[in-house]
């Protein structure tokens, strides 16, 4: 007997958590000496009221969808992949190599090639922690965190010593060939009169992210592999009984997870910067954890949560621009959201369950 209807579990719990996080954030903003309501209006104004705001929000949301899906796939196998950041960094390297060294005739082919490159590099970076977990029992949380640092160092080395064009001062690659430039939303939707999405980074990769959401949904709930991943994640002893190989499932789930995290680089490196720079991920790998938690590891939830965090990211930038509220406040709000939707989940859920119980008994 379920205590709460499924819709309440999926919508009310995260919404209330979010509300509590917002209230605490408002208190923090007041403590800084700013007005939380005008700050919120500013965030809304700079994000939702202008098409360029939308462009930024969707651009960030694209990143978060990939990293959120990455965390979610691993979650279904009860693996906590904290390494999205490092896998995305390596994914950027994959994108750069594919774009720089293969002569692409058209972006539509290049995005396919870049996706494969990004996924392969991201997956390869997740492979080592996966094998260490599956065969040696090294905890994946520890190893993936360490691999984030290694990835940053590797990228630093590669950019400074290998891929940096001769004479350039900056640790970055040169710009990719024009044929690999992805159409931005401005290219796609703006007309003479409207100038929609002008000066904003959202690009065609957004649709790739949507496709990834659908693909993950199909994978998890409609394929043998997804069935095995979920079964393994629910109960390893039962999975063994059913003849599901724990080593194999651990490695496969992490490869998919790493591949998805890596694909984020198609958006940042190919779609926006059009070259590989240092720290192209800007922490999106970590935000994926919050997005997956809040989206309850379901692709649709992740889509919504990614939009929310896209809003917070862009709104936070607006705040930093126009008020004395530092951009880091967004990190505080994100942390609060993680705290409430993840760690304190039961704090919201249990009173709510009791409420529904009372409602049911009285009706």
């Amino acid at each position: 007997m379920d205590r709460m209807p499924a819709w309440a579990d999926a919508t009310l719990v995260p919404l209330i958590s979010l509300f509590l996080a917002a209230v605490l954030s408002a208190i923090v903003i007041m403590a800084i000496g700013e007005n939380p309501i005008s700050a919120f209006m500013l965030m809304v104004d700079g994000t939702l009221m202008r098409s360029s705001g939308w462009g930024y929000m969707l651009y960030y949301a694209t990143n978060f969808m990939f990293t959120g899906l990455a965390v979610a796939v691993a979650f279904h196998a009860r693996l906590f992949n904290i390494g999205g950041e490092g896998q995305a960094l390596l994914g950027g390297l994959g994108v750069a190599l594919v774009c720089m060294y293969i002569p692409w005739p058209h972006w539509s082919l290049a995005i396919f090639g870049a996706s494969v490159g990004a996924a392969l590099f991201g997956a390869a970076w997740a492979y080592i922690p996966a094998v260490l977990q599956a065969k040696r029992g090294s905890h994946i949380v520890i190893t993936t965190i360490m691999f984030n640092f290694i990835a940053a160092a590797v990228l630093n080395y590669v950019l400074v010593n290998v891929l940096r064009p001769k004479g350039a001062q900056e640790p970055a690659t040169g710009f990719f060939p024009d044929a690999t430039a992805l159409p931005s939303f401005f290219d796609m939707f703006a007309t003479e009169g409207s100038r929609l999405f002008r000066n904003s980074p959202a690009n065609v990769t957004f649709f790739l992210a949507l496709a990834a959401c659908v693909a993950v949904w199909l994978l998890i709930w409609h394929t043998r592999l997804g069935y095995q991943i979920r079964a393994f994640g629910e109960r390893e002893s039962a999975a063994k009984y059913a003849g599901i190989n724990p080593v194999r499932i651990t490695v496969i789930a992490m490869l998919i997870s790493g591949g998805l995290a890596g694909m984020m680089a198609v958006n940042t490196t190919m779609g926006e910067a059009e070259r590989l720079i240092l720290n192209a991920t800007e922490g999106a790998g970590f935000i994926g954890i919050a997005v997956a938690l809040m989206g309850r590891s379901h692709p649709f939830g992740i889509f919504l949560a990614a939009l929310l965090f896209g809003f917070l990211y862009q709104g936070g930038a607006e705040l930093a621009l126009w008020t004395n509220i530092p951009r880091e406040l967004i990190v505080v709000i994100q942390a609060l959201v993680i705290l409430f939707t993840g760690a304190l989940d039961n704090m919201v859920r249990m009173p709510l369950e009791r409420l529904f119980l009372i409602l049911r008994r009285t009706s």
Binding site: L218, Q228, R230, A231, E234, Y241, G243
Partner: protein, 510 residues
């Protein structure tokens, strides 16, 4: 002796959400008697005892101890009121000695030495008084379950309990150990202690209790003098309808050997040899029962046969060798070889509790091409088939969308059985088929197993319930300490003989 009841409950009610676990329950137990409480799983026995021991607070009702109204808000209060509880799963610290466990929570001060000395003295007295012999300096992890249980009883007596509650005390004991326990209980009764015995075994109620209360669906359906009732009547009171206590079956018609096990050995991760050269075979059309106290290697045997533990030796299925260590030693290849497996622990192995019933009906067979459509699983077909299977196996409620955890133990077991039997396997491995299953479902489950046997299939049955082995199996082997102590035809043996073998006496001597 006073005429006041030692313990009396009046109108106890307790609800968990919409579930009424206890409904207006009243019992009174006279001092110096043994009172049995019998009922199916989920009838509310454990809830009632938890209220008595201060784990739950009753919604309504009163508790009287020796005629005095007593509030029991927590277990400290229960102990203070002279109530001692022996749980089904012992609450002992494994790496403490017997003595240390006995004083745990009842130390007299910050320093242990005086408490230990006092306890040692008291223990000697208690041991003499009640034949509760234990070695005070032995580590708990090194003594057998029988002694562990005596330590639990001593713990209660050390805290001056006058009322002892025992929850399913014989679940882990050999018949001989159970007999010894009953002798102790008898002795305690004669010394004026009051004992409440919770069990689902009718035989124990008949053997030892003075009065018995029957619980069904949270209600006390009857309280009778044990001498004035019989097992059939009690079973009917428990279930609410007439129940067949014996399994109705014709003599087996054994055919060819389906499963042959030779010199099977298994060493666990701690380096302990759990199976020490097992030899057995199962023929088509017969049920081979493996009797034994839990923890003597039966689980390991099932795991190896089921393909999720590696071993040395030889296992042949219809004459063909099975891989015992390599990549072919997994559950998938075992299923491909015609072995179906109803595991001992349906909650952590046989089912994914958070999966819906329909997803569970293909668990282990999820790779079968019949359930695929192109790249995807044919969820619609699986659901339709699940609904049919659940009808055929009388799973209630017959709703395939419900998560497995929402079914009762008996219905969960029926889901597992339906899945495994419907594959029409050559060999069915069954572990503890009726553990935690209500009497009504036991009857059904036994019938299904016998029907599979009559269809000419081989069945290997592992059960710690000797009654179940004797009534269901055609041939019985007894396992003790990773070895087979002996083999008997079920029709030509009895509990006493098997019980001796379960305690380690070789079959030739028994």
């Amino acid at each position: 002796m006073s005429k006041e009841p030692a313990i009396e409950l009046r109108g106890i009610s307790k609800a968990f959400g919409p579930v009424q676990a206890n409904k207006d329950i009243s019992i009174s137990v006279m001092p110096g008697t043994i009172h049995g409480i019998i009922g199916e799983n989920g009838a509310g026995k454990s809830t009632l005892m938890s209220i008595l021991y201060g784990f739950y607070k009753a919604d309504a009702g009163e508790i009287f101890i020796a005629g005095k109204k007593t509030e029991i808000p927590d277990s400290q209060a229960a102990i203070g009121a002279g109530i001692g509880m022996v749980f089904q799963h012992f609450k002992l610290v494994q790496n403490f000695t017997v003595l240390e466990n006995i004083i745990l929570g009842a130390e007299d001060g910050a320093l242990l030495r005086p408490s230990l000395a006092k306890a040692r003295e008291t223990l000697t007295d208690l041991a003499r008084e009640y034949e509760l012999n234990v070695d005070p300096d032995a580590l708990i992890e090194e003594v057998g379950v029988g002694m562990q249980q005596r330590v639990e009883i001593l713990k209660a007596l050390y805290r001056q309990a006058d009322i002892l509650i025992l929850d399913e005390p014989t679940g882990v004991l050999t018949p001989a150990e159970a007999d010894q326990l009953f002798r102790i209980l008898d002795r305690l009764r004669n010394e004026g202690k009051t004992i409440i015995l919770i069990t689902h075994k009718l035989r124990e109620i008949m053997d030892i209790t003075d009065t018995v209360s029957v619980m069904r669906r949270g209600e006390m359906t009857a309280t009778v003098k044990t001498s004035e009732t019989n097992p059939e009547e009690l079973a009917e009171l428990m279930v609410g309808r007439k129940v067949l206590l014996r399994v109705d079956k014709l003599p087996a018609q054994p055919g060819d050997k389906v499963l042959q096990v030779e010199d099977l050995r298994f060493i666990d991760s701690a380096g302990v040899e759990r199976l020490k050269g097992i030899n057995l075979d199962v023929r088509a059309g017969e049920i081979l029962g493996i009797a034994g106290v839990a923890g003597n290697g039966q689980s390991e045997l099932l795991e190896i046969l089921g393909g999720y533990a590696t071993a040395t030796g030889r296992i042949r299925m219809n004459g063909r060798d099975l891989d015992l260590t390599g990549t072919e030693s997994d559950g998938q290849s075992r299923r491909a070889a015609g072995i179906a497996h109803v595991p001992e622990d349906r909650q952590s192995e046989g089912l994914i509790m958070n999966f819906s019933a329909w997803e569970n009906t293909v668990f282990g067979y999820h790779l079968d091409p019949a359930w695929q459509r192109g790249l995807f699983m044919d969820n619609a077909a699986i659901k339709a088939e699940a609904a049919e299977k659940m009808q055929r196996f009388d799973v209630r409620p017959a709703n395939p969308k419900l998560a497995a955890k929402n079914f009762s133990g008996g219905n969960q077991q029926k889901i597992v059985l339906a899945r495994e039997i419907e594959r029409n396997p050559e060999l069915l491995l069954v572990g503890q088929p009726t553990r935690g299953v209500d009497i009504g479902a036991i009857e059904f489950i036994h019938k299904q197993i016998v029907a599979l046997r009559d269809a000419g299939k081989a069945i290997l049955l592992v059960s710690v319930e000797l009654e179940e082995i004797l009534s269901l199996a055609d041939r019985v082997v007894v396992m003790f300490d990773g070895q087979i102590m002996g083999e008997r035809l079920a029709a030509e043996t009895n509990e006493k003989e098997l019980g001796l073998m379960m305690a380690g006496v070789s079959g030739d001597a028994a």
